[in-house]
Amino acid sequence: MASRVSARQRWRQLPAALALLAPSIVILGAFVVYPLVRAVVLGRQRCGVTGQSCRTVGWGQYGDVFVSQEFQNALWVTVRFALITVPLGLVLGVALAVLAHKPLSGIAVFRTIFSSTVATSVAVASLMWLFLLQPDVGVLANVGWLNELIPTLKRPGLLRDPATALWSVALSSVWAGLGFTFILVTAGLQGIPEDLHEAAAIDGATGSRRFWKITLPLLGPTLLFVVIVLTTRAFQAYGEVDLLTDGGPQPGDTTTTLTYLTYGRDSLIAGDDGLRSTSAVLLFLVLLALSMIQLRLIGRRVHYGSD
């Protein structure tokens, strides 16, 4: 193990190493590195609607797009979307997992129910919410008392009112992502040694005290992972917006997230592959920066165990 390998030996091993790496290099190169480089190059250009006859504008296009009204609006919408979905998804996921982490008979039924949204695609979940929230023939809009409680449900409809549209899309996203968080946190809970809880209980710690002092700190690595995944998901959410609002209600691109601005059918830049690439690369940079911040700020507070 610890023996030093001479430079010559290393060179001799190179062909073997390359041969072993070749599949990864080819696949990553063709499907990750090349498209990424191509997207960065394309992001300097503006293209005709046919995707041909692109002309180069220059690196300045990245800056111009970044400060443009549309991109900033989309960035702000995305940040708000993440600020709703991440904490809500996290709290609900942890709450459900803790509830279901009880040695009761029949608890498996609840675990199955709580995790069932994992088996639901975003498209199915979104369509379900679309049918629930549709203001004319939708299920919720025509329930009398609910209607009186929330008049927006009927007029103009939660998804059509600029004040509620983003929240509604976010809630459907939280619902769809809940099963995933639930399963991760449940797995995390099962990794916490039971004797810690027993010892604390013997010392007289109450249930809530044990939750805050034992469960939560030991869940740290899991929660960090969940937060990063949920944030990334929020920044990449597309299906919900596409199916529920098409980036509207208009005017104001109320739910046009960065992904919808980049890929959306009704996006203003839908016909320009250059601008779409610019937007996609900027989204990548934003996400990269965000993940780093999260790792840095939350990462050092997380307890990874005894070492």
Partner: protein, 520 residues
């Protein structure tokens, strides 16, 4: 160590996000259009040549302006004559020794997909020289993107592209104009509805063969008309009648609203607007709606556009129309007719949806509204007479294929637009036939007689006079311009200032046109 290296990056990112949040930039499209003037493009010349005629777009009468524009515009553009465009080797099939296999891309789904596959199978069975493989690309948008981004060898021999793609099809230089085939084959177009041919032609050349044609019609609840004391067989035709009918429907308590309207790009926010301009005999864009030369500016922010949208906005403000939003669901305005508590009595939607509407109602999903209770009327418009622009899609023949493939493509297309196929396809789908003799053969003959509602879209197209305004606009970035316009219409229906909204939208639309013309 690792963490220390991350710090500057993280701080930089945080700072840039903060900057983005507080600075306010220009439009994403204007940004990119900044270096426009430096690019010499034929389009710029056109803009100068025609700017005089576009100064007063609003009050012109159909026919006058374009005629006046024509000579000047033609003088300044490089219009390509048919002879200089790719040939159509219509006789090449005779030399083929084995059956020719070609691919056909379309964007029709569900019932319409079944129909197109059925008529293609009929074609394959009807002869032994050509075998066509129909491939659904998922939708119009997917077909457009995939076709234009493919190389010559990957393209299908025949492709179906929607009506807002004409300019792109021309500029992509990937097509054999269908007129090359019709003239080489001596194909008789005399029974075709002239509007359908005109819709797919530019600068005097027919590019696509119209195949599945639809246009917007008025759907209404006959029961409510009766309850309000209106004649259920006489739907409103002018906007004034639309208002009067709505008033009566609301006053009598027959309906909560007269009409449900939306601001979707392919419905109330874009397509209907183009239809209304055509109905009024107004040009939607300069250079004869982009038919004489590529358009350089839209004209909907003029007096007539403002008048039109103010009229509709008043309907909303006065509680006569219900604004259903961006139509993200695609049929939101129709669903308002099925509202249990606060229904509207009328809605405008594409005629292509008629079959689906009737099937849905036949399933008994809406209590008190059966298929026989739905009336279909011509699109009410400013002129008060029925007219329509051609919607739907056309068939194009890809250039760069072998002669036998091109000939096979033409043979297939001529089968698809034959009276028999058009008659069958129309009754299978709800699209209207492109030619009048399709109505004289079964099954359309009896279907149209039994249920005149299927005829409305056909009739209003047939009634449209032959004029540049009624050819409709062709714009390079038409899809994006519709999206921009739809945002303005949404603002207007939500109570915004009409002139401001339209002017702002027109400015962005013109930027889009300039950017498009600069790179094509």
């Amino acid at each position: 160590m690792n963490r220390r290296r991350l710090t500057p990056v993280a701080l930089l990112a945080a700072a840039s996000i903060a900057v983005a949040a507080c600075s306010s930039g220009d439009s994403i499209i204007e940004q990119a259009g900044d270096d426009e003037p430096t690019t010499p493009a034929p389009a710029t010349t056109v803009a100068e040549g025609s700017s005089g005629s576009t100064a007063a777009p609003a009050s012109s009468v159909a026919g006058d302006e374009p005629v006046a524009t024509a000579p000047a515009t033609n003088a300044t553009t490089t219009t390509t004559p048919l002879a200089a465009l790719p040939d159509c080797p219509v006789d090449a099939l005779d030399g083929a020794t084995a059956p020719v296999e070609i691919t056909f891309w379309h964007g029709l789904n569900v019932d319409n997909q079944t129909a197109i596959e059925q008529v293609t199978a009929n074609y394959n069975a009807s002869q032994d020289r050509v075998i066509v493989d129909p491939q659904n690309q998922g939708g119009y948008l997917e077909t457009i993107d995939k076709f234009f981004q493919s190389g010559d060898t990957d393209r299908p021999a025949v492709v179906m592209l929607p009506e807002y793609t004409v300019q792109q099809a021309i500029d992509s230089a990937t097509m054999i104009p269908v007129e090359a085939c019709t003239s080489a084959a001596g194909y008789d177009l005399s029974t075709f509805q002239p509007a359908t041919i005109a819709a797919y032609s530019a600068a005097g050349v027919d590019w696509g063969m119209p195949f599945n044609v639809s246009n917007p019609v008025l759907y209404y609840n006959k029961n409510m008309f009766v309850e309000a004391g209106l004649d259920p067989d006489k739907p409103p035709q002018s906007l004034e009648e639309l208002r009067a009918y709505s008033q009566q429907l609301v006053d009598s308590g027959a309906a909560a609203y007269g009409i449900a309207i939306d601001s979707g790009a392919d419905s109330g926010g874009g397509w209907f607007l183009e239809q209304w301009f055509a109905n009024a005999g107004e040009l939607y864009a300069d250079n004869g709606n982009g038919r004489l030369a590529p358009a350089t500016e839209v004209l909907y922010d003029g007096v007539s556009g403002v008048e039109l949208l103010t009229y509709v906005q008043d309907l909303v403000n006065d509680g006569l129309a219900f604004y259903v939003g961006d139509n993200a669901g695609g049929a939101d305005q129709l669903l308002k007719l099925a509202d249990e508590n606060e229904p509207a009595a009328m809605a405008i939607s594409t005629s292509a949806g008629l079959g689906t509407v009737l099937n849905t109602l036949a399933g008994g999903l809406v209590p008190g509204l059966g298929p026989e209770d739905v009336g279909v009327g011509a699109l009410p418009g400013p002129a008060g007479v029925p007219t329509a622009l051609v919607g739907g899609a056309a068939l194009y023949i890809a250039d760069g294929k072998t002669d036998v493939e091109a000939a096979a493509a033409w043979d297939f297309i001529s089968y698809l637009v034959s009276p028999e196929t058009q008659s069958l396809f129309a009754t299978l789908t709800g699209y209207v036939p492109v030619r009048s003799d399709a109505l004289t053969v079964e099954p359309a003959l009896s279907v149209y007689e039994d249920d005149p509602r299927f005829r409305v879209a056909y009739d209003q197209l047939a009634a449209s006079p032959d004029s540049p305004a009624l050819q409709g606009p062709i714009l390079g970035p038409q899809r994006e311009i519709r999206a921009v316009t739809a945002r303005a219409v949404a603002e207007i229906f939500s109570g915004g200032d009409v002139q401001t909204a339209l002017s702002n939208a027109a400015q962005v639309a013109n930027d889009l046109l300039a950017a498009y013309n600069a790179s094509n």
